[in-house]
């Protein structure tokens, strides 16, 4: 492949095209590729941000199996992903399907349901923090209904549940839009043909909708999983990883290890492991999509 004016070489990328791509390429190299490589480099060093890095080989990686904070965060992260991905995707799918059935004010409903996704997550987190406060409106409602106030954010059992609930609220509308696009891309002919063949209700869903939605579902699963692994704001703003580290997901542990404990080497080792996990899931996505398209 050569870059040059049309007519030179076998395959050509017009020089103007290359120039237009350059800023994006530079951005990717400088702000994405370089930090990833630098993070791996730092994971092989002891580095406190303020002195020169000291090479220690794979010390930080070798310590990971015995690092209780890391193991704890790993399990919390996995649990968070499991408890958010499945319900969020299920709810999104149902909402998107319901939207396809709406005949009146369809645009209004879509807009209303999409609002949570476009709200700044910091504002959302602060509002939910107020809602889940022990003296907040949710507990007011619980006590009015005759129940006992729940220590949502101060208890290791309830705090992860509260975080999961706010994550659902924020994420559902985003995946709903993805599923909606998937539903709308299914040709009407399929349904008409199925109807002629006598397919009804669940059969249409099982044999027409779900197979046609498979690439969309695969994409949504991978996106939701990756986003779940990268989540940070709710845990940082609402509980700061507490109580007793019950909501300390991996990204928050990385942040604290870096900027509170000044242990950049160890934090980078955590980051490399998290990156490896996300990369594996992303490759899985490519494999899924290729399998479908191939």
């Amino acid at each position: 492949m050569k870059i040059g004016k049309r007519g030179f070489g076998e395959r050509h990328i017009p020089i103007w095209g290359a120039l237009f791509a350059l800023p994006a390429l530079l951005y990717i190299v400088l702000f994405q590729l370089y930090p990833i490589l630098f993070s791996f480099y730092i994971s092989l060093h002891d580095y406190d941000l303020l002195s020169d890095p000291v090479y220690v080989g794979f010390k930080h990686f070798a310590a990971l199996p015995y690092d209780r904070a890391f193991i704890n965060s790993l399990w919390i992260t996995i649990a968070y992903v499991v408890y958010t991905v499945v319900p969020v995707l299920g709810l999104s799918f149902l909402l998107a399907w319901a939207l396809t059935q709406v005949r009146k004010s369809r645009g209004l409903w879509r807009t209303l349901l999409f609002i949570p996704s476009v709200m700044p997550i910091v504002s959302v987190a602060l509002v939910w923090k107020l809602i889940f406060n022990f003296n907040g409106p949710l507990n007011d409602a619980v006590t009015l209904a005759g129940g006992q106030a729940v220590p949502w954010l101060n208890n290791s059992t309830y705090a992860p549940i509260a975080i999961v609930i706010m994550s659902w609220w924020h994420a559902v509308s985003y995946y709903m839009i993805i599923f909606l696009a998937g539903f709308l891309s299914i040709p009407r002919d399929y349904y008409e043909a199925a109807a002629l063949d006598g397919a009804r209700g669940f059969q249409v869903l099982r044999y027409i909708t779900l197979p046609a939605m498979k690439p969309t579902i695969a994409l949504a699963v991978v996106l939701a999983t990756v986003n779940g692994l990268k989540t940070f704001a709710f845990q940082q703003i609402v509980t700061d990883g507490g109580p007793a580290n019950a909501t300390q997901i991996m990204t928050l542990l990385i942040y604290k290890t870096s900027f509170s404990y000044l242990d950049m080497g160890r934090a980078s080792a955590y980051s490399v492991v998290l990156f490896g996990g996300i990369l594996a899931i992303s490759l899985l996505q490519i494999w899924f999509l290729r399998d479908r398209n191939g």
């Binding site: 303020l50 022990f134 208890n155 700061d240 507490g242 109580p243 404990y261």
Partner: protein
């Protein structure tokens, strides 16, 4: 003629430009980073203007960020090799910062003294001890605090007690918990007393440190090994922090968590007693501001009181090119004890602060001044944040039913592991 005039004008302009350049080369702009506290900002800006009026070549540029964000941003600036001249640092971070060469040793001459001893003589006893590492002083207090017990006198009145009468003040922890039980309302609308919950580890440490000292508990022993799971420490936590939860009159489940106002329940009249500093009243609601009295911190042995000392201090960075001017400004700023206390509620720790007009107008200033005499700073460690976090996690665990000893054993393991790294 016209040509000559033009030449003269050009020459004059050049001379003026050169003069301006020369003057500019002598001008100093001190960058000063502070955690966000609006009264402090106003006061510092006022004092900075006064300092510039006396020293026209020196200007001060103040920047503030909320606590938490502030520390992260400061570290980023230091790591990038572009730190401000003057910084605002909590005392427990001094070992970490000083051991990494971030802070400059205090310039005695800027404070008008010739030695460390003379510098210390300007301050209350121990005021500089928390800012001294390996015999070198790295900062001066902007706040030199101790904690006391704030009591809502209207709440006491409801159970037939006069809070102005010292005989009704709880002297021991048991007195405190007994009184708290009487003040707590069963419908959950009021709690008698509570510790802080779900805040940063230093908030917890400020409250448990005097308790640990009273019980003879050390976080780390003389050999540098974790001792937080010793019998003394288990007893200290069991007989104080845990009691509230066991008696169901306090604990995390009843606390309103607000990092911006750690005393929100007391501030809004939902809690009758709270442990806080002299800086706390501006956070109170107007109603509570009228209703509080200040009592000494409860003790295990009231005849042998032990309290906390802490300091949000001011320091000059080692990388500053204007250290002399920066320290001169710090001396100018912090020597106005009266102005500081009146405007911000901060006690600068200078000798004689308790005799100032502002102190006389501050409720409880005599209690705080007495408390300062019996205080000590939290343990010193270059890995304090990890160690503080481990103890915080232990407290949050035993608050939820994990045995105190087991929770503290875990904290001790974590502290040892951090220290071995």
């Amino acid at each position: 003629m016209g040509f000559t005039k033009k030449r003269t004008a050009v020459a004059a302009l050049s001379a003026a430009t050169m003069l301006a350049s020369v003057c500019a080369s002598f001008a100093v702009e001190l960058t000063f980073w502070h955690h966000t506290y609006p009264p402090a900002r106003e006061f510092i800006e006022k004092k900075a203007a006064e300092f510039t009026a006396k020293n026209p070549d020196i200007t001060i540029k103040l920047h503030d960020d909320p606590h938490g964000d502030y520390e992260v941003k400061l570290l980023a600036a230091i790591a990038a090799g572009n730190p401000p001249d003057i910084v605002n640092v909590l005392d427990y971070l001094f070992p970490q910062y000083a051991s990494r060469g971030i802070l400059a040793e205090v310039d005695n001459a800027a404070f008008g003294v010739n030695s460390k001893e003379e510098l210390e003589a300007l301050y209350q006893p121990q005021a500089l001890s928390g800012l001294t590492i390996d015999g070198k002083v790295y900062g001066v207090p902007e706040e030199f605090n101790t904690l006391a017990l704030f009591i809502n006198k209207e709440h006491l009145k409801e159970i037939g007690l006069d809070a102005e009468d010292e005989a009704n003040w709880p002297k021991t922890w048991n007195d405190l918990f007994d009184l708290a039980a009487k003040l707590t309302k069963e419908d959950g609308s009021r709690i008698g007393f509570n510790w802080v919950w779900n805040l940063d580890p230093y908030w917890y440490a400020q409250q448990y440190w005097p308790v640990l000292q009273q019980y003879g508990c050390e976080v780390v022993d003389s050999e540098g090994k974790a001792a937080i799971n010793s019998d003394a420490c288990v007893k200290a936590f069991s007989e104080t922090w845990k009691v509230l939860i066991d008696k169901n009159i306090g604990g995390p489940n009843m606390a309103t968590v607000n990092p911006v106002n750690a005393l929100q329940d007391f501030s809004e009249g939902r809690q009758s007693m709270a442990i806080a500093g002299i800086w706390a009243p501006p956070l109170f609601s107007d109603e509570v501001k009228e209703q509080y009295v200040v009592a000494p911190l409860p003790q295990l042995d009231p005849e042998n009181p032990k309290t906390l000392l802490n300091s949000y201090a001011l320091a000059v960075t080692a990388a500053s090119e204007n250290k002399k001017e920066a320290f001169e400004f710090l001396n100018f700023l912090t020597s106005d004890s009266d102005g500081y206390l009146a405007a911000t509620g901060y006690v600068t720790g200078r000798k004689g602060w308790a005799d100032t007009e502002a102190a006389k107008n501050t409720r409880g200033s005599d209690i705080f001044a007495e408390g300062q005499k019996h205080g000590s700073f939290v343990w010193r460690s270059a890995t304090w944040t990890q160690e503080g976090n481990a103890i915080k996690a232990a407290i949050e665990q035993f608050a939820q039913g994990v045995p105190v000893k087991d929770a503290l054993d875990q904290a001790a393991q974590e502290i040892d592991s951090v220290r071995q790294r």
